[in-house]
């Protein structure tokens, strides 16, 4: 893409997003193109609770409302649930046969916690989680941006053990609180409040100076050998100083200006469509302004109740969680399928927007440099197996889309656990073979530039991906 088209398309997206960007942002673009930074590599994970519709083949609803596509890797056919992604077919990949081994016999309602971590959190008793894949990426990509990651959910906060309201967990396995108010997210991204931060930084700076002076005076009283040992400490302090300088730089860098006139920052979950689209818009803006390169978004909580369970109002249906329990009622499969279709539609809209936006400071369009995934830790009713996962983009990262990738053995037609509406499903012995989802995460980590060959206790990648 040459310079001229870059300018052109930037104007186009200004109109296309329904947002007007003030001029200073253009300068920020220019500023961030300096230095060692390369084309951004981004990661987004969208999580929806309660799984998808998986009727039996013998059920009349199977043809239209079974979530998984039919056919093979290239020549697959989307059902009514995912046909909203047909126009993006060449940009998406759909997966089957993946799940976290430790979750396969745990009630699906407990498992939003481990979708991005793969930790064996179990169904009751003491609770311990591990770092989520997005936070591993954030540790790596976070050094290029003002915010290491953007963690969002409709419900906000951390939720309870085995009832997470965030998809992100830190190195110690503790939940990273999610934001759920568009205004609050917007303010974090685009409104300065650096006064406290500046004072804190100044104190940290004087603490480090003090520590260096103090260490120097100890150093003079040590043997040569011990001075060598102590030099590691000095290096650690200096590395911390560098980090501070970077934080200082961000404080001094003007925050991108965004005109909020067409953003609905007061939208609430019960205004489902508006809220949902606003949240996606915020991810888009965060990526576009390179405020962060990592985001997670959880739609509702498992076993939902209350206003946050009402995204399904967008398609005129009652509580989303209830839809999974009512699949055997007249029109039940269709209702659940319709809601899943709506989720896919919004994801598709976001993907399309990334595709339509040229990469501000790099190759291709934004989608080419973003791995965006959408999925759940359940497929059928309360059943944490055969996770329904869609990914989009990442062409420049090495992902080849337009495929339906089936993993494992014995469940090529996705009938294992299909049609169930009781807890007999998740307590049953697993008869088919599935591969660990963490292997996909290893692939993703590597392609996003994290040097590792294992994640969540699994090593190795998925070679087909």
């Amino acid at each position: 893409m040459n310079d001229k088209s870059l300018i052109m398309s930037r104007r186009m997206f200004l109109r296309g997003t329904g947002l007007a960007l003030a001029l200073p942002w253009l300068e920020t673009f220019a500023a961030s193109s300096r230095g060692k930074d390369e084309t951004p590599r981004r990661f987004l994970s969208v999580y929806h609770p309660d799984g998808v519709g998986l009727p039996l083949k013998s059920d009349p609803a199977w043809k239209d409302w079974s979530w998984f596509p039919r056919g093979n890797e290239k020549d697959f056919e989307l059902t009514k649930v995912l046909e909203v992604l047909e126009t993006l077919r060449s940009e998406v990949t759909i997966y089957s046969g993946l799940s976290h081994p430790a979750a396969r016999n745990v009630h699906g309602h407990s498992n939003a916690d481990q979708y991005l971590t793969g930790a064996p959190i179990g169904g009751q008793g003491p609770y311990k989680n591990t770092i989520s894949v997005d936070q591993v990426i954030a540790e790596h990509a976070g050094e290029f941006t003002r915010h290491a990651s953007l963690v969002m959910s409709t419900n906000g906060g951390v939720g309870g053990p085995r009832g997470a309201q965030t998809q992100s967990f830190n190195r110690e396995g503790r939940p990273v609180p999610a934001m759920n108010k568009p205004k609050q997210i917007f303010d974090l991204l685009f409104v300065t409040s650096g006064k406290d931060a500046a004072a804190r930084l100044a104190r940290s700076k004087s603490a480090l100076d003090f520590l260096i002076a103090n260490t120097r005076s100890l150093e003079r009283q040590l043997s040569n050998h011990d001075q060598q040992t102590l030099s590691q400490y000095l290096d650690a302090v200096r590395d911390t100083e560098l980090k501070l300088e970077k934080a200082q730089k961000w404080i001094n860098t003007p925050i991108p200006q965004v005109d909020t006139r067409n953003l609905h920052l007061d939208a609430e979950p019960k205004e489902a469509r508006l809220y949902f689209q606003t949240m996606y818009e915020l991810v888009y803006l965060a990526f576009l302004s390179d405020s962060t390169r990592v985001a997670t978004f959880q739609l509702g909580r498992e076993n939902g109740e209350g206003p946050h369970d009402l995204l399904s109002l967008a398609v005129g249906l009652g509580g989303a969680h209830g839809l999974t329990h009512a699949v055997k009622n007249p029109g039940g499969w269709q209702n659940l399928g319709t809601y899943n279709r709506y989720q896919a539609e919004e994801f598709g809209r976001f993907v399309q927007k990334l595709k339509d936006t040229p990469e501000p400071n790099g190759r291709g369009n934004m989608l080419d440099n973003t791995f965006a995934m959408h999925g759940s830790a359940s497929s059928s009713f309360h059943l944490s197996r055969n996770y329904p996962i869609i990914s989009a983009g990442g062409k420049n990262l090495g992902f080849t889309n337009g495929r339906y990738l089936k993993f494992g053995k014995g469940n090529e037609d996705n009938q294992a656990g299909a049609g169930i509406a009781s807890d007999a499903g998740w307590t049953s012995k697993m008869e088919v073979e599935e591969l660990p989802l963490s292997k996909l995460f290893v692939t993703v980590l590597q392609r996003l530039g994290v040097e590792t060959d294992s994640f969540g206790g699994e090593s190795g990648t998925l070679t087909k991906v």
């Binding site: 309870g160 053990p161 104190r203 520590l211 050998h225 011990d226 040992t229 911390t240 209350g306």
Partner: protein, 869 residues
Amino acid sequence: MKLPRNALLLMLGTAWTLLAADGQQAPISLEAAREQGRLKSRFLKATKDVAKSTDVIPKANVAFFAGSVGPILKKSCLACHGPEKSKGRLRIDQLNPDLLSGPDVERWREIFAALSKSEMPPEDEPNYALADADRARIVDWLTEELNAASLVRRNSKGHSSFRRLTNYEYNYALQDLLGLPFPPPNQLPPETASEDGFKNSSELLQMSAMQFDTYREMGLKALRRATVIGERPQAVTYVISMQDEMDKALSGKETKASEKATRKSKNAGTKQLLLHRETGESIQYSAGKAMPRTEAVAGPTPAVSPVVLVLPRSGELKLDLDRFLPDEGTMRVRIRAGRSSMTPDEHASLRLMFSAHTSNNANFSQVVSEHDIAVTVPAEHPQFIQFDIPLSDIQRNPFRKLNTTFPRRDEFLHIQNVSNASGGEEPLRVLIDYIEISAPFYEQWPPKSHTDIFIESKNKSDEQTYGREVLAHFLRRAWRRPLAAQEVNEFMTLFANYRPGFPTFEEAMVEVLAIALATPEFLYLTQRVTGNETKSPAKISELELASRLALFLWSSIPDDELLKLAEHGKFREPSVLTAQVKRMLADPRSRRFSQNFVEQWLGLDRMDSVTHVTDSALRGAMQEEPIAFFGEVLRHNHSIMDFIHSDYAVVNERLAAHYQIPKVFGPDFRKVAITPQSNRGGLLTCAAVMTMNSDGKDSHPLKRGIWMLKRILDDPPPPPPPNVPQVDLTNPEILKMTLKERIADHRNKPACNSCHSRIDPWGIAFENYDALGAFRTSIKNKPVDATSELFNRQTLAGIDGLKQYLLTDRQDQFARAMVHKLTAYALGRPLSFADSADIDSLTTQFRRRDDRLGDLIHLIVTSNIFNSK
């Protein structure tokens, strides 16, 4: 001087050969073996205290080599280790016999090891057999020369004890320094263990920016926890009186009459009830909802009530505390309880769990009491049992502050009876009449941890003067030395810089103190170079000695008493030092020494990755046993030969059941006499050792052999060569073999033999112990074959044979290994050849004191090596 020694060695050598003549040991008792073995000690025959000869510059005795040792080596060794063949890449004819200045000391040490363990020359080479007198001559010469060579190198050793604190030491130091009731939650990355298994080894204790950040964060958090701001917070108090509960239950419910009638029903002994002890009236009861009361905890405790909660074995009272517990601080739980009967074979303890159930399938529950607390008094005279729980460190219900009722906001406290009460007419039950829960609980206000930092002073109103006082007081303890005025001034400059950013003196000062906790003076064990170091290695200062000693025996920083003695230059006086060591070992903090040393020495953290122990009580007991055993030997100053074999075990009920030792009741570990039939005694057959050295299904002789050599005998086998052929499990012939046959098959491959013949036999001797360390006499209906033959043709007949051999022939090796391990741990650095003269000297003194563990601690603490840089 030399002659009688040689003669003795000669005699001993002969006795040894007689014993091992036909490869079979005479079947003697292990006690007799221990006595016989002691007579053979090389250290006990040593006629001078080697370490004292430091002032004389030793010279190499090359003449004796030329006249005596050289010709013997030529005769017995040259054929395989010479110009024709050079097995093990050793050419005996090319070694420099000057060990003091020559380059071949390491090779000579290997030769010394092979000869003294009778591994060379090989038994199947009769033409090159080494006469005992000749062997003794070489070993004797090498002993002297190696010792001299070590002394010469002592001054140029490459390892230093300067190191940062380990994670656990850092945690204890913070806890002790700040007087915190609980260790602060540790977020530091795990440590790497040294070759010896130690995590406090100077060269492996790294520092990174991430760690540095964590230190700063943890230090500040711990300080904020130790100090308070403002007025005493109003405590939330729950009071549950069983009298009230019964009144509540009985009022308004007519159905209770029928329940009253059932009070004499058959299974009354296992039911959970509210019982009026005088009227016999009872009613079922399992869960209560407690609303907080506003009156202070200190309110009068009611008299003992006749109405009690009857908690049978595994019974649980689940209290709904709603959502009123504070976020932080200590929750004190007081339970007035007694036993329904005092039968000695039954025990009951209380345990606390905490839980929440926020929505379907979103729940957690965890044990929050650190230890179960035994109920020991009769119900007629109940006593309070008290738990302190850190509310900010346990999993809480994150929804407790919601304004809506879903997800659910309640938090639950469970009081459980952990007991072994068994059936019968009247099994033991716990009777509780009164429970009090209060949070945040403070013994006093402001708490002692606060006033220990913000000390009493007449200058409190003068921030400059008072600031200096606070800093000087705090820094002396944190840095383990008094500070110069200038050093305090530097902190005051920083304080002046911080002060405007904080509303109170205390808050700003806490920030400054947190920086002191991130300095190397706190994080590292320092040793300063002083101007007048004439001798090398130089002595450490008394203050440095106090820190080293505190880390050794308490895994923490010195207390005020140690600091005072060191400041006044009185610490190194032998009587003072000895008295202090005694005091420190008697202090509860010395439990940290037993735990950390034993865990690292034996590699017990491998138990953490074992998945085949599913009973958590058994797992806990397994992990505790070696620590408890070590503690027992230490407390009673027993011989360390008890680690090889003892006529007692240290077990609790769960482990005794596993070992089929009868009549042990209760969760506490205690010394129990055992018979030979129990096949226990010593550390080698501890269930933990056997379990972690198994493959999850069965015993693993190779792992057990390596463990023996590495951990017990300090003789680690070399790592496997890079091109080691794998056992081919696709070969049906191999698949058919038993594990022992498979190992034998592997060992018989020439490439594998030289190492495996030194490892496998040790492990095969343990074949009577299965993957959980239980004793067995058959494997898959075949009798267990636990007999093996060592490299030197020594037969080991099962565990008794192994113990007998160790006791008769390897006492010196084990004693020296123990000295080596303990000294390496005490110094926090790896030992090298330069230290071996010191270790030999310590071993000699140790063996003279009948190998007593307590004495060894004193010997190490007063030794040159422990007092030197």
